[in-house]
Amino acid sequence: MTERIISCSDALAEALAEEMERDETIFILGEDITAHDGIFGQFKGLYKRFPEKIIDSPISETCIIGAGVGAALTGMRPLVDMHFADFFTTAMDEIANQAAKIRYMFGGQAKIPLVIWAPDGGGLSAAAQHSQSLESWFIHTPGLKVVVPSEPADVKGLIKTSIRDDDPVIFFQHKRLFSQNGPVPEGEYFIPLGKGDIKREGNDITLITYSRMVYLSLEAADQLAKEGIDVEVIDLRTLKPFDFDLIAESVKKTFHALIVHEACLTGGFGAEIAARIGEELFDYLDAPVVRVGAKDTPIPFSPVLEKFVLPQINDIVEGVKKVLNS
């Protein structure tokens, strides 16, 4: 299969176009998406191609998600745009109490093939209400699936799988990664939910991460390689379900594990991974599992402070060394 280099935004738009071409029940609902192709240009060209399928909504997340849930119940496959993941708060009942639960409360007679698309993450000096990483809220709500891709190729393969999934999927894309370029295969392909990917092979330590932290981790790994430390970087790609088998295989090889995520440390998904490693891979550990995450504070507006709060490459390097004690 040949590949070309395109951005995460282009990969998303391409995937959506392919899916909308194929299935007329797919439509996109969100704020200001007809005039601007989405706030980050992520729906570029779609309005021109599918004018009836791109629908502007009122400025109300309650309405957007509520409409999405309703449409999904009636047989459509909506993708709703959250604009910023931070706005989930005003639509939490629609997500956590409706979308996540309807299939179960109706004994499987109803399904919600809804994708909630949400740009998350910091690093843009967008302050506390526009910079959060909220994946843990949804992981902790049974009934939802959670996707957190990093590479353009993964964005394309995973959004297509998510759209075809009959359950609600929260699809996060990091705001700093829209312009991130990468090779994307030509032609149709799918990436199953719950399959991680080894972005860099190594023998000394397993670094488990996802979303933007994949790139920072890869850079940290490059730095560490100069010191003779061979880091294996696992990109989980989806958090619910998540690929524990891949982690296990790697830890059984390296005997050390570090988890890196941008979300704040306390109660973050890293805690879940660390717990599973402790429970299931105890005999393979040569050192305690360490986590690197944001400090437990609202993300500051000040670029200097924001950098201080969010994990940086150096924090990851230090994290690796803490595990390896070198």
Partner: protein, 414 residues
């Protein structure tokens, strides 16, 4: 799914101690591969996998389990294994092996009591290092940790293993380079008294402290005995097993016991039990300890039968495959130290048996015949018996009968 149970190794066996697991949960094992080791009060026994599969041990080592009690499972495939994991959680860390138990013993022995608080005694080691140490039989107490806070990590175990390899076998046997003027003493090796050694330890002490042992010595002329064996062996066709002196001794002793039934006895409570059956144990050296497998009713068997059975027991001993039934219910023991040029000794009774015959080497000594000194093959005999129930005279008479039969094996058929 196959349940792995404590096997019944013989009629007399009721339970066994699970000494160690030879594999970890999730390991793929092959048919006939040793998967765990058990110990009864008489033997240790390696239990093998009944078929290929994925193993899931659940029972803790160091504990005693009844015969037929399930100690683990063997799954056909991964899927089944996963469900086993869920349905039958292990009662133990999967890496636990006997080595760790030994380790504790050793550690405790080497520390001067009263030691520091319990928490300080704990050796810091990563889970991986612990599991590696246990599977390589390393003592964590002897390894220096280089991890944070002195934690023993994988590196340290690898270093220790490398060191051991480098040192090689010769060094292992020779004492470490010792300072000539060193006044203290250091153990070259510390061996915990467990398993079969513990059984021997307790039994020997119990024997000498709770019975009244008397040993009588005599010498038998050996020419006829040697000649008897030579004739038997000459008659053999190639495939048959040669007769050893022990085979003939078993038969002689059994015949003598028939004539002196009160020697074939035990004390049970306030009573003396004279046994109807004669079961004669022959002391043998197994890999690491003394074992005494038993020939059943040799008084009723031909020399050929005794020869075959004794040979089977020798092979089982050598291969460490003796079962509890092979060792149970002896009524008399023969211990032969002739191979080591011993003439006489004072064998120790094996209660509840009341007598044991020690046999020395066959050696030519000056004898007197018709007023002339001539060389004569002699065999030293030492009979120890429990003087509480066997008086000196009957004991001596029994020994005389044995001596007479050795000197004239033809008496066996009288």
């Amino acid at each position: 799914m196959i349940e792995l149970k404590i096997p019944k190794l013989g009629l007399t066996m009721e339970d066994a101690k699970l000494l160690s697991w030879q594999c970890r949960s999730g390991d793929e094992v092959k048919k006939d591969q040793t998967i765990f080791i058990i110990e009864t009060d008489k033997v240790t026994f390696e239990v093998t996998a009944p078929t290929d599969g994925i193993i899931h041990p659940v029972a803790k080592t160091g504990e005693t389990y009844d015969v037929d009690q399930t100690v683990g499972y063997l799954a056909e495939n991964r899927e089944e294994y996963e469900s086993l994991l869920k349905n039958y959680p292990a009662d133990m860390p999967t890496h636990e092996r006997i080595d760790e138990t030994k380790e504790e013993v050793v550690t405790k022995r080497e520390e001067t009591p009263p030691g520091p608080a319990e928490s300080e005694k704990r050796i810091k080691a990563s889970p991986l290092a612990r599991s590696m140490a246990s599977s390589h039989g390393l003592n964590l107490a002897e390894i220096k940790g280089t991890g944070p806070g002195g934690r023993i990590i994988r590196e340290d175990i690898l270093g220790t293993l490398k060191g051991k390899e480098a040192v090689g076998e010769q060094e292992e046997i020779l004492p470490k380079a010792v300072d000539k003027d060193f006044l203290g003493k250091e153990p070259l090796e510390t061996i915990p008294i467990t398993g079969i050694r513990r059984v021997i330890y307790d039994n020997m002490y119990m024997s000498l402290s709770q019975t009244a042992q008397l040993t009588l010595h005599t010498e038998a002329k050996g020419e006829a005995f040697v000649d008897f064996r030579d004739r038997l062996n000459k008659r053999l066709v190639k495939e048959e097993i040669k007769f050893s002196y022990n085979v003939i001794l078993v038969k002689i002793v059994a015949t003598a016991l028939r004539m002196h039934p009160k020697i074939n006895a035990s004390i049970e409570g306030d009573e003396i039990k004279i046994w109807q059956q004669i079961h004669i144990g022959v002391a043998m050296e197994s890999e690491d300890a003394l074992v005494v497998p038993v020939i059943r009713n040799p008084d009723l068997k031909s020399l050929n039968e005794i020869n075959r059975e004794l040979n089977e027991l020798i092979i089982k001993t050598r291969e460490n495959k003796l079962l509890p039934d092979d060792l149970a219910n002896g009524t008399f023991t023969i211990s032969n130290l002739g191979f080591a040029d011993v003439d006489f000794f004072t064998p120790i009774l094996r209660p509840p048996e009341s007598a044991i015959l020690g046999v020395g080497r066959i050696v030519r000594k000056p004898g007197i015949k018709n007023g002339h000194v001539i060389p004569e093959a002699m065999i030293g005999l030492s009979l120890t018996f429990d003087h509480r129930i066997i008086d000196g005279a009957p004991g001596a008479r029994f020994l005389k009968t044995v001596k007479d039969m050795i000197e004239a094996p033809v008496l066996m058929i009288v």
